[in-house]
């Protein structure tokens, strides 16, 4: 088990290096100059522009800049934003809490709703309740996030005026947990709708697999009540693959977060990414790439470890 974790962890390092290298190349070789974005409308002489270029280190060849970036990284420094010269680490850190609270809410809500729906859908396969659940799940998967976001704002914020149209909290009110939750509700539910759709389908097929297993048939033949068979014998095993899903859902969640944060003016990492792309703030972009790559890899690792813990049939030995 420990060797497995250490091995996987060590394999992640070259992968992360590869990702950052590719991204560094793309970001820096892409057409469009960050200087143009910085200078904007100001009339500067070519020598002044050259000065800025040198101060940002943009005059050096790309491989040197990448190595320098790596060197800084090793010392825990992600560089400085081109825009406001703040440390990239700080810029990202202030965005972590909003994004993570959104993701956490989505995971919580989607699992709580999806598991019962998926289970019932499976044990009542091909009945109207199954069709209803299937239609609901497919709606969640197929509804474009931004459209459900707009519909949500339209109904709950503009027509009914129950929920705010966006933002992290009411401006000028100071921190309040209730106020935060109130603002989190709409973007969170919109994102959770999609996640729920994916999970319902997953729970259903996993449950269907398990119901057909011999040990479930044996339990039934032994005279246990249907309820007991489902709860004690089938459900436990059906939930195993869902644990894996928890780790693997991170990239999908992050993709959803980018769009939802944009619509709801949620000051998280997704919005930061869009801001950084539009202003060609390369250091921030690289910091975010690294951050998301680490998150995704950690999710994968977590999925493998949890699966090994939950399912003793999977032996996480050193060799694989």
């Amino acid at each position: 088990m420990h060797t497995f974790i250490i091995r996987r962890f060590l394999i992640s390092i070259p992968v992360i290096l590869l990702i950052t290298m590719i991204m560094y190349l793309i970001v820096n070789l892409a057409p469009g100059d960050p200087i143009d974005m910085l200078v904007g409308q100001q009339a500067l002489t070519p020598s002044e522009i050259e000065q800025i270029r040198i101060s940002l280190g943009l005059n050096e060849p790309i491989h040197q800049r990448y190595l320098k970036w790596l060197g800084q990284l090793a010392r825990g420094n992600l560089g400085f934003s081109y825009l406001d010269h703040q440390p990239v680490l700080d810029r990202i850190a202030e965005r972590l809490v909003p994004t993570f609270s959104l993701m956490f809410f989505v995971i919580l809500v989607s699992y709580i709703t999806a598991v019962p729906i998926g289970v019932i859908s499976a044990i009542r396969q091909y009945t109207w309740i199954d069709y209803l659940a299937t239609a609901l799940a497919f709606s969640g998967i197929s509804f474009p996030n931004f459209f459900s976001g707009l519909v949500g704002i339209y109904f709950f914020s503009l027509v009914l005026k129950w929920l705010p149209t966006g933002g992290l909290e009411t401006i000028g009110q100071g921190f309040s947990m209730v106020d935060r939750l109130y603002h989190l509700l709409l973007p969170g539910l919109v994102l959770a709708f999609r996640e729920m759709g994916v999970l319902v389908r997953y729970t259903r097929s996993s449950m269907l697999d398990v119901i057909r297993q011999d040990y479930v048939r044996t339990a039934r033949a032994g005279g246990l009540s249907e309820w007991k068979v489902i709860l004690h014998h089938a459900l436990r095993n059906a939930l195993l693959p869902l644990i894996t899903m928890l780790g693997l859902s991170i990239p999908r969640l992050f993709a959803g977060v980018v769009i939802i944060e944009q619509i709801f003016q949620w000051p998280g990492m997704g919005r930061l990414a869009i801001e950084a792309i539009l202003s060609r703030d390369y250091p921030v972009l690289m910091g975010l790439t690294l951050c998301t790559a680490v998150l995704v890899l950690m999710g994968n690792l977590l999925a493998d470890i949890l699966y090994g813990v939950a399912d003793p049939r999977i032996r996480l030995s050193g060799k694989r």
Binding site: I141, F147, P251, V258, T292
Partner: protein, 296 residues
């Protein structure tokens, strides 16, 4: 001896339940998939015959008509600069379908080739492909798409390219697994014994027998690609106006006043994306039921 021959003949002449006819029956039984297939067909027709179906030129700007609500001349009203929403909606299907089909086509081709080769030859080739799959799968995909499309310039071509080159690992993984499973089948071994070249075995013996899960994956992939294009275009990082795409038609609705007072601008394209993706997903679900013999 005679009896055996007669039995054999009877067996041959009995109405044969081929895999194909069974699959067709199972697909037709999946009602949602059937409805989905009809809607997808309608959308395809809409895209092909857009110039004949659209009542107006989708890009014709007419400031006099700007922000007009639905009327008899313009069933779905007009947008901020007076372009006909219905015509843009009809033309938008072209963008969505071409992204869906082309992006998935690109990554299917890559995934099939790499997966087959890795599964069939094994050894270091397999090692290389599998490591590549792992690496690309751990990419923060959307981040990469945003950066590439955002920096290289947002365009239909770039979106197709990026989706095409990032989507293949899942396919390669499926294909590899399937190829491993059929590699030791008798029909493959007999071709090998007869001295058929590897390329022929891969194309004639292996490929036709592993396509089921690939087709299902491709179907879901088309829906996913359409959603991603719509999302990017919505953010302004996809298809650029004046070209109409369902996603960029919703872009204006980020302003609350348009959202509240001009629903004809953003509800129809949003619904179209939803209808298109859910129909394709239902078809995919039907195909999975039809092509997966384990389920029945």
């Amino acid at each position: 001896m005679m009896r055996d021959a007669a039995d054999h003949k009877a067996l041959l002449e009995a109405p044969r339940q081929t895999f194909r006819s069974l699959a067709r029956r199972r697909f037709l039984r999946h009602r949602l998939a059937l409805v989905g297939a009809v809607i997808v067909a309608a959308i395809v027709l809409m895209a092909v015959f857009a110039p004949w179906l659209a009542p107006h030129d989708p890009n014709h700007v007419n400031i006099m008509l700007a922000r007009e609500g639905p009327s008899s001349g313009h069933f779905l009203g007009s947008d901020l600069v007076g372009r006909d929403v219905l015509s843009r909606l009809i033309y938008g299907s072209r963008v969505s379908l071409s992204v869906g089909l082309l992006a998935v086509g690109v990554y299917m081709a890559i995934g099939l080739i790499l997966g087959c080769v890795a599964g069939y030859f094994g050894g270091w080739v397999d090692m290389m492909v599998s490591r590549m799959v792992d690496a690309v799968l751990s990419f923060p995909t959307l981040m990469l798409i945003l950066v590439i499309v955002g920096l290289l310039g947002p365009s239909l071509f770039n979106i197709i390219l990026v989706l095409g080159f990032l989507g293949w690992p899942e396919v390669a993984r499926i294909v590899r697994g399937q190829t491993l499973a059929v590699r030791e089948e008798l029909y493959v071994l007999s071709s090998e014994a007869a001295g058929a070249p590897s390329s022929r075995i891969l194309l004639k013996d292996i490929l036709p027998n592993i396509m089921s899960p690939v087709i299902v994956n491709a179907t879901f992939g088309v829906a996913r690609a359409i959603l991603i294009e719509a999302g990017l275009s919505f953010l302004g990082m996809g298809v650029q106006p004046p070209t109409a795409s369902w996603g960029n038609m919703l872009n204006d609705a980020q302003s609350l006043s348009i959202l509240e007072t001009m629903p004809w601008m953003w509800v129809p394209p949003g619904l179209m994306i939803f209808i298109a993706t859910i129909s394709i997903n239902f078809v995919g679900d039907g195909l999975r039921d039809a092509l997966d013999p384990k389920l029945n």
